[in-house]
């Protein structure tokens, strides 16, 4: 373990303390690869409390795991930060290779590596350079084709010491960052949904509150106006009630005056010897049967009866027609002839003089 550039931001973890796993994901859809790797690493979990460094390649992820608790104890013992900003296995800071088998000297021990397409697909650490059998075992477990296998490990010059890179040869992320990323996404979705619900809720609450204030103000104004206008309102409702009752009474007692009607009809009939044979008044409908001189045109009687303006819609009733008679029906408009129509009370309505009785035309 070494401190990165003396600032405590980066701590490089010895390969001896790490375990490596190649997680192939070439058969997994790109959108699901992060979740797939996350699940694979959580299932792997070689220590009770794991730290991870993951580098994504073209065909799979290169994952290093270490005992986080043991690391923190060692860092504490060495006086280094137990939660550095960045932790990298030293393999990531040693030179990368394109293809083939490599025996890499580490800060402690050596690391056997198998590279394919600039991806580290297999790695194993030994405290000393492995013998031929161990090397063959490593090649077999790494899936090196038999034709490409070599019986002896390459020569590793440990006298020069490791050649450190300033930056790792591939972007490295931690499992916690991956989990955090997924969690952040969930949180972002949740926050969006929450905002989508919260914003209209707040707007509606505010609008309701504002509306309630306005309604309260109007209620108060209405109460004030009602108390001010109460005498007028009372008088108005009493007036309207009295007016309705008055209308009803007026409607009940509003009828054509029979005596005036008889006089009116007698006055209107021409003095040609005609006389009233029958007279029927039913409400506002009047029916007359007149005995008329022979050859006298009927229109003379219709015109005469319409002349006063009180009788309207005068027409002949042909149902009861007999020779020498004219039957006429008419509508009585109003209670009195237009010339004398005024608001009347009983006892003040009848003409006192000049009344012509029915049959005056005889």
């Amino acid at each position: 373990m070494r401190a990165g550039e003396g600032r405590g931001e980066l701590q490089c973890l010895a390969r001896a303390l790490c375990r490596f796993r190649w997680v192939p994901y070439d058969a997994v859809p790109p959108a699901e690869r992060r979740a797939y790797v996350r699940l694979q690493l959580l299932a792997w979990s070689p220590f009770e409390d794991n730290g991870y460094a993951v580098a994504s390649g073209r065909d799979g992820a290169m994952a290093f795991a270490w005992d986080q608790r043991a690391f923190e104890q060692r860092a504490q013992a060495a006086g280094l930060p137990t939660q550095p900003a960045r932790m990298l296995p030293e393999t990531m800071l040693l030179p990368a290779h394109d293809e083939g088998l490599v025996l890499q000297a580490c800060s402690t021990g050596v690391e056997g590596q198998f590279w394919r397409g600039r991806q580290l697909v297999s790695s194993r650490w030994w405290p000393e350079a492995p013998d031929g059998a161990a090397w063959l075992n490593f090649q077999r477990s790494a899936g090196v084709p038999a034709a490409a296998q070599v019986p002896e490990p390459p020569v590793c010059d440990r006298s020069k010491g490791p050649r450190w890179l300033d930056e790792p040869w591939a972007p490295v992320t931690s499992l916690s960052a991956m989990i955090e990323h997924a969690r952040l996404r969930v949180h972002a979705i949740a926050a969006t949904l929450l905002a989508a619900l919260l914003l209209p809720t707040l707007w509606l609450l505010h609008a309701n509150w504002a509306m309630a204030q306005q309604v309260d103000a109007l209620e108060a104004e209405k109460a004030q106006l009602t108390s001010q206008a109460q005498p007028v309102l009372t008088a108005r409702s009493q007036s309207l009630a009295a007016l309705a009752s008055l209308d009803t009474l007026v409607a009940a007692v509003s009828h054509p005056d029979a005596l005036t009607l008889l006089s009116h009809v007698a006055t209107l009939l021409p003095g040609d010897g005609s006389r009233i044979r029958k007279l029927e008044m039913d409400g506002r409908r009047l029916r007359l049967v007149l005995t008329v001189p022979a050859g006298r045109p009927r229109i003379a009687y219709v015109r005469a009866l319409e002349g006063g303006g009180w009788l309207q819609d005068v027409r002949e009733d042909t149902q009861d027609a007999t020779p020498g008679t004219v039957a006429l029906v008419a509508e009585i408009h109003g209670n009195m002839p237009p010339a004398t129509a005024t608001a009347r009370a009983p006892g003040a309505s009848l003409p006192r003089t000049g009344v012509v009785a029915p049959g005056a035309g005889r």
Partner: protein, 198 residues
């Protein structure tokens, strides 16, 4: 409770389901709020109209005078109605009065029948509206027939206003031919109540 919470933490589907249920409940709450806002808007519009009406009515200072005039006219009209304490008395009173009037002009009635129309009688007015009499008012209807003599009919009709009460001819049939008969249907407006002491 803790066990349930642990289970909730372990099961993302349960969390998602719970979130969906909560979101639906929240949406329902939003709809309720929206409905409440609409109702408040309607209430506000109603109150604005009401306040405007009150302002207008409050400025109409003529209503007390109008009420006094209308009530006076109503009282005058009611004072002209006949007054009896029961429908039976109405019937008898009108019949007596009519017999008296007919006798005074020397007319012998062939028929004289009086009935009292039921309470709340609906009467069509000239304008076509239908109005209902107040509960304490009745209309008594009399059917009278007698021999037609022009002077007698004139005198009978002329005596009606002499009562200085509401009485009118609702139907009249004069046969001046072979039968020489007059049929009158008279209606009188009554108030159900104690007679005023004269």
């Amino acid at each position: 409770m803790n066990q349930w919470l642990d289970e909730l933490r372990r099961k993302p589907r349960l969390q998602a389901g719970l979130a969906v249920v909560l979101a639906l409940l929240w949406l329902l709450g939003l709809l309720e709020l929206s409905d409440a806002l609409d109702a408040a808007r309607r209430e506000k519009a109603r109150l604005i109209d009401e306040v405007a009406r009150l302002r207008t009515v409050g400025a109409e200072q003529h209503w007390p005078a109008t009420r006094d005039q209308t009530q006076a006219r109503l009282a005058d009209h009611r004072a002209l109605a006949w007054r009896e304490e029961s429908e039976g008395r109405m019937q008898a009173m009108l019949q007596d009065w009519l017999r008296e009037q007919l006798a005074a002009v020397g007319v012998q009635p062939r028929e004289l029948v009086v009935i009292v129309l039921p309470a709340r009688t609906v009467l069509p007015s000239e304008q076509g509206r239908k109005s209902e009499l107040p509960a304490d008012m009745r209309i008594a209807r009399a059917r009278v027939s007698f021999e037609f003599k022009p002077d007698a009919l004139h005198q009978v009709l002329a005596r009606l206003p002499a009562s200085r009460r509401w009485i009118w001819v609702s139907r009249m049939s004069v046969d001046n031919d072979s039968q020489r008969v007059v049929e009158l249907e008279l209606e009188a407006l009554f108030v159900l109540g104690a007679r005023e002491s004269s």
